[in-house]
Amino acid sequence: MKLINACRLLAMVSLTVAAVGCAPAATPAPAAPTEGAKTFRVAMVTSGPTNDHGWHQNALEGLQSINKELGYEIAYSESVESAQQQNTLRQYAQQGYNLIFCHGYEWGEALKAVAPDFPDVMFVQINATTEGANIVGTNFKFGELGYFAGMAAGLMTKNGKIGIVAAQDAPQVTADSDTIQLGAKAVNANADVNVSFVGSWDDIVKGQQVTQAQIDRGVDILIIIGDAFAPPAIELAKSNGIMVIGGWSGDAHDLAPETVITSGVQDVPGVYLSIARQFGDGTLKGGSSFVSGFAENTQKMGVWGDFVPAEVKDQVNQAIADYLAGKLDFPVLK
């Protein structure tokens, strides 16, 4: 029996090896674009699915806008497991992609291992502080959106109970959930803000349960920070007549115009496009890092619902102006 098994497995392996033998030798594409050529090849890698209505979908939109606006060739790998990160990065670098986006903090170690082997390739890591001659890091000023969302919630609430449904206890999330409390308390002393974590960005069933629990607590405003579970959660809030502040990537206004007060918008596609543009112009310097937010227009409040009183909008917009003018200060992750 063992021998049978051995033969079987040997056969499997030999077949694979034979397949390798038959395979046309992979021709490595030219590593660097020829002088004067204006078109580049851009790749992106994510650890999550690119149809999550959030973070990873925004990355794909960013990549696609690079293709549309600048005409660069694009490619991407999604839902990459940590154990295959280096392998994936290397595959793209070897094929001669010039600019490779790593979408998220989780790519840091793989980048450190791979980037030095490909000095001609520029790597960009989103949401990370990076080091390395050919690595660029970008970050949002986490905490900004939370403060103004919290203000809006504090102004709109009638019973003072505000619930946050957040994905995960990550600094990028808690920076905002902390400032939501500050913003709400600043305009409404009675504000009672509680955070629930779903423990996942994409588990829509659990997201629904957590949202329902907040609704059962009697909140009249929900702030939802998540990816795939956010749209169904907004739907649930809508059917319960509860107002929502959504976003934390795209604008949630269109999902439920009569429910969504406003959104905290992170312009991920904008960041992708501006980096690619700089790369095309030759102005992108390896080792640099970009931290952006309201001042750079990569974070902003989204479309306001028609039902929101003008005073509320004005007060929040005034606070944003004060913040930009340096008259208002609160903790922001840099």
Binding site: N194, F197, Q212, A228, L236
Partner: protein, 352 residues
Amino acid sequence: MVRAWWSRGWVRTTAILMAALVVFWIVLELAGEETRNIANGIFTILAAPEFVKAALIAAIPLLLAALGGLISELSGVLNMALEAMMLVGAFVAYTVADHSGSPWIGLLAAGLSGLALGLVHAVFTVTLRANQVVSAVALNLFAVAATALAFRVLYIHKTFQPAPGFEALHFPVLSDLPYLGVALFQHNILIYLALLLIPVMWFILYRTSWGLTLRSVGEHPMAANTVGIKVNRVRYIAILLSGTLVGMSGSALVSASGINAFQENLSAGRGFIAFAAVIFGRYDPIGAFLGTILFGLGDALQIRLQAYGVEVPYQLLLMLPYVITLLALVVFMRNARGPAASGTPFVEEGAG
């Protein structure tokens, strides 16, 4: 005498619960203000009808899957592919309901898709006599990939699109009862159908000749064969039935709390919990219900503790349902014994 009484499960359960309550009360008396506040919060949570409602909603998809798993396992075929069948069922239920406009057609299609997966599992485990666990592991991988791919192909549009789902029912008097109304009588129809399935399954398994046949095939296939039972045919039927039920559990998962939407890997390991509930419930429909409702209660409790702002890291709260189930396994469910022939393929005379 005392010992005989003590050995009865419910007597022991009640006694231990009461003892725990007394200890809890004493601790509260001794503890300070802050602890009492937290305890107060917990009591508020437990006393609310929404708590029971949420627990049922969380438990019902698991229950359907566990009942499905039970049929297969009683016939002697481990069905660790519950996860796969649930996921595919969920996807099909959503897609078909979305395109046909009827959640009932979605439910039916989900059952059929589960049946199809059941057929694959049966071909592998009964006909080919391949390892039952490997077949399940492969099917689980298959389900994740296939549903994700089909979801991409069918839903390229970016906006979120809920499908028509089962509406919450409203019974004339019952739904307006003070506590019970919210807790028990405002659910959608699937939840009542699933609950109804418990006595039906119990009756079929323990009071019909087919139930006896099924159990004998799982317990002693050789003996069953000698009295003329076609062992492998019974197993085929059991796995197909199992797949149908589990596929429908996917529909329940999609519609349970009114999501009516799909996302890649929607089942997220719930099939494994249902698998555990089968064993936890000692291969009995009522036990399976207890197992899943216990998990549902644990889940609803941890989510509410968070919502009410209990200052415990949420990851530890997320562990709660698993830890509670594990503790209950140790305390109440000792010596859970499965069908004797579980896991072993049957070789008919002349076939080997």
